[in-house]
């Protein structure tokens, strides 16, 4: 196995690949800019910012740049709303050649004027894309002026695609959110120990709602998902929570830290993917309230929920156990919970990679992984193909771009991305997940494929 990495062609990539060996210090190179020509599966800073901010349902999201950046990201994510549908529109300044030469500030200011006039939004986010970063438009100035003129919030999001990676986009988004939250008018004096915010969930396929239903059962109070199914008003009230919990750390840990600093709200990392993680995290939430009754109720609730789904999960486990899995997802947090979830189904992970995992996350992955597991950072189709074949994976978990590759290689596939239409979170999600795995791994089509 070691040899096979050495035999691999792209020299620059070798340090981004590790084959787990027990009792050995093995660092992986990560958190680097993608290598030119390596066909990275990553997106850009702007993409990161859009992931985090876009689910704010009643805000207007203006993409300041040429049309492509807006076109390819229009309503592609599965974030659901219980209220406004404004966020599903893609507003672009559609910069043309003359704007690139003479600057796009006027066009942007004009765009804001038009939007205020036609829809009078409370808040507008203005994303900068690559060229805007180069032609030197003063986004801050345009936004500030508009804020003054209309007495609304117009928040610049510095997300020029080249200036870092998706993570920098997360950070830009978190900065935008904190500037929005910091509104004294919404501050209350006495906090309720049962109130929390749920950070790092974007309400894909209604996942925030599922969790909120659990919270209602155990007696805690969610102010808002951040940013899943949030509104400007809910985000402004978020400062009144007693504590924060963070699901997707990669995208939202900065925000948690900033909220701790600014509003003295402590935070804890959680994961609601998989039965065990869900149960642990719920208990954790209960303990954070410090309320004995809530803790007791939560224990009962978990027991009940587990019992409800035990037999059905057992059925899937019997059908799926023993299969080998390859994982390639965006963040380290997701990869970690997937490894655990596959373990719950009796499946082994033989390859695991992330686009933007952090060093600590790779350490955890290494701990969880079995001997010989291939660990990859910012990989590409060539490597995916190579290691999927070498490790004999039966199933790949990934995003939209990886799906056709899995199918061409004749293996099963699970979508675990922001476009999903099926909730994978919590107890219900665990069942859905198992069902999905079964659907693809045990489909009769593989018989035909194998027969050729």
């Amino acid at each position: 196995m070691k040899k096979s990495v050495e035999a691999y062609t792209l020299e620059d990539r070798k340090k981004h690949i590790v084959v787990k060996e027990k009792n050995k210090e093995q660092g992986i190179k990560c958190d680097q800019h993608s290598i030119s020509g390596a066909v990275s599966q990553r997106a850009c800073v702007y993409c990161g910012a859009r992931v985090v901010l876009n689910p704010i349902t009643d805000a207007v999201h203006i993409i300041h740049g040429p049309i492509g950046c807006s076109s390819y990201t229009w309503d592609i994510r599965g974030s659901l709303s219980s209220d406004s549908e404004m966020y599903r529109n893609s507003f672009s300044t559609d910069l043309q050649e003359r704007d690139i030469i003479f600057g796009g500030e006027k066009k942007l200011a004009g765009a804001i004027d038009e939007i205020v006039e036609s829809m009078s939004p409370q808040t507008i986010f203005v994303y900068s894309t690559c060229v805007v970063g180069v032609i030197g438009d003063d986004l801050d100035a345009v936004c500030k002026q508009a804020e003054k003129k209309y007495n609304i919030r117009v928040i610049p999001v510095k997300s020029s695609g080249f200036a870092g990676s998706k993570k920098d986009g997360y950070q830009a988004a978190c900065n935008a959110i904190i500037s929005l939250m910091d509104d004294k008018e919404y501050k209350i004096d006495i906090k309720d120990h049962r109130t929390l915010n749920y950070l790092g969930d974007f309400n894909l396929a209604g996942e925030v709602w599922i969790l909120n239903n659990y919270f209602k059962e155990i007696g805690v109070n969610m102010i808002t998902g951040v940013t899943g199914d949030s509104t400007i008003e809910k985000l402004k009230k978020a400062q009144n929570a007693s504590f924060n919990i963070v699901q997707c750390a990669g995208s939202s840990i900065y925000l948690a830290k900033m909220m701790e600093e600014r509003f003295k709200i402590p935070y804890e990392q959680v994961s609601f993917f998989g039965i065990q993680d869900t149960a642990n995290s719920l208990l954790n939430v209960a303990r954070l309230t410090g309320d004995k009754k809530i803790i007791r109720d939560t224990e009962v609730f978990i027991k009940q929920k587990k019992a409800d789904i035990a037999s059905i999960l057992q059925k899937y486990k019997e059908k799926c156990a023993g299969k080998k899995v390859a994982i390639y997802v965006g963040g380290g947090f997701k990869a970690i919970s997937l490894i655990k979830q596959f373990n719950e189904l009796g499946m082994t992970t033989v390859m695991v990679g992330t686009q933007t995992g952090r060093q600590e996350e790779y350490d955890t992955i290494k701990e969880l992984a079995e001997e010989g597991t291939v660990i990859l950072d910012d990989t590409n189709p060539t490597e995916l193909q190579k290691f999927i074949k070498e490790k004999g994976a039966d199933l790949l978990v990934g995003g939209v771009k990886e799906r056709p590759l899995a199918y061409k290689l004749g293996i099963a596939f699970i979508d675990h991305n922001h476009e999903r239409k099926l909730p994978l979170l919590g107890f219900e999600g665990a069942v859905n997940f198992a069902k999905e795995v079964d659907l693809t791994v045990n489909s009769p089509v593989w018989n035909l494929v194998r027969e050729g």
Binding site: S92, T93, G110, I115, V131, V134
Partner: protein
């Protein structure tokens, strides 16, 4: 007004130039694409294409960072070419620029020349194409790239030959197979570009190769300047982007421009061009296919007569679909495209329809609300309007993200036009049949007092 807003495009009905460039290169044999710019553009474009075709779409990026943006991306570009060579060993690398590379003024030709002098790459062609996203839409980018590929290989005029050049628009893989079948009925040799019939609809093989089989071969492209004639399936593209125009102006290859052969008249003009160029009669089998189509459109004319359509998407597709609708009595209420092909107004001469080039979905939506068509015909980006207004959508064009199999649907030729027309007609029939008992019951019975008259 083309758009509801002056300074904004709301819900775009177009994509950017490198998208068109990518689709063009995907039809060239043994080729790989390297986009010069930042990482995001290539990833988004890959995602957009992959979801439509359900095929792996590998496009490399030079992943420019802040440094590359300030000091120039020459190093990245050279490095990128090396890495693509190593992991894909293609025969052709298409280098497409993005907005970023263009804005910082990268001289990709110069950089590539420099690279070639230092490295021996005699078995590799590197074709630079300038495709700034802000320059024009994917529609222009597509033809512009084909034009550049052809001119790259035809600086010197080829030896005159008997082949016909066929330049296709962005149509489905199945469509390209059908066009080849039709040409083969005329028993002539041809060069079709870009040929995505296999590359973007590849059969399952035991040994998957990263660069799919198929595509227009370099040898063939090199002969295009000596061809007998060119048929370009486009009537709306500007001369400066037109590959056929290049071959005509520089190499005196006679040019025949026809619409995409969808709809009776459009197929006729394609067939007529083939007859004129080859000097042959229409093959018997095509005469039969035409007869069958004629028979079928008579069968369905009354159903179609109730159709009122909003047609949108790429200009060429929109043009062809509009003529098909017109022929069959389906009223084109709204004819829209995001690209700036204003020519469509003059060509269609539709006084009673809203014809809007250079528009966005927000504006199309407004007109749909106003004019209440009962059909949307276009790509899947119309899903928003479908969802909000409940109007049925018949899918054609690119992208189609919410259905499977877009690449193997047939639209061209008499057979394809008929299949597509049937799809439209059946959608209209479903609308008619859906709930008609209840509708009539309400209209003529309940609203007129119910069974009062029966109370004797």
């Amino acid at each position: 007004m083309n758009k509801n807003y002056v300074n904004l495009d709301v819900n775009p009905c177009k994509m950017c130039m490198p998208m068109g460039g990518s689709l063009a290169f995907k039809g060239i044999e043994n080729s790989m694409i390297l986009m010069h710019g930042s990482q995001g553009c290539s990833t988004y474009i890959r995602r957009h294409i992959a979801t439509h075709y359900n095929e792996p779409i590998d496009i490399a990026s030079t992943s420019l960072s802040e440094n590359g943006t300030i000091y120039g991306g020459a190093k990245n570009l050279k490095h990128g070419i090396m890495n693509v060579m190593e992991s894909y060993s293609p025969k052709v690398i298409g280098v497409l620029t993005t907005c970023l590379a263009e804005t910082i003024g990268e001289d990709i030709r110069g950089i590539i020349e420099e690279f070639k002098q230092k490295k021996d790459i005699s078995c590799l062609d590197i074709i630079p194409v300038s495709t700034p996203g802000y320059g024009a839409s994917h529609f222009e980018g597509y033809y512009h790239t084909i034009r550049n590929i052809i001119s790259f290989y035809n600086e010197k005029q080829a030896i005159p030959n008997e082949k016909i050049n066929i330049i296709v628009s962005n149509i489905t893989s199945a469509d390209i197979r059908e066009i080849k079948r039709i040409i083969e009925l005329f028993q002539v040799e041809y060069v079709l570009i870009p040929d995505t019939s296999e590359t973007l609809d590849a059969p399952y093989k035991e040994n998957f190769t990263k660069i799919p089989d198929g595509g227009t071969s370099i040898e063939d492209i090199k002969q295009m300047s000596g061809a007998k004639a060119t048929i370009e399936l486009s009537v709306l593209i500007d001369d400066i982007y037109s590959p056929g125009k290049y071959l005509e102006d520089l190499h005196q290859v006679p040019l025949y421009q026809c619409p995409i052969p969808i709809g009776m008249k459009n197929v006729d003009s394609f067939i007529k061009a083939l007859c004129t160029i080859t000097g042959r009669e229409i093959p018997v089998s095509l005469v039969e296919e035409r007869g069958r189509m004629l028979d079928a459109i008579v069968d369905s004319h009354k159903y179609n007569g109730e159709g009122r359509a909003a047609i949108y998407g790429d200009p060429e597709i929109v043009y062809a679909v509009t003529t098909l609708c017109n022929e069959n009595g389906i009223k084109p209420m709204i004819v829209a495209s995001g690209s700036k092909s204003y020519k469509i107004r003059d060509l269609l001469k539709l006084n009673e329809s809203v014809v809007i080039p250079d528009t966005d979905f927000e504006t199309i939506h407004k007109y749909v609300k106003e004019l209440k068509p009962n059909l949307l015909i276009g790509n899947s980006e119309g899903k928003f309007i479908k969802e909000k207004e409940g109007t049925d959508l018949v899918r054609i064009g690119f992208p189609i993200h919410d259905h499977i199999g877009a690449q193997r649907k047939l639209y061209v030729g008499y057979n394809g036009s008929l299949r597509f027309l049937d799809e439209i007609t059946n959608t209209l029939l479903d609308i008619k049949h859906h709930g008609y008992r209840e509708r009539l019951y309400n209209e003529f019975y309940v609203n007129k007092g119910g069974n009062k008259n029966a109370q004797l």
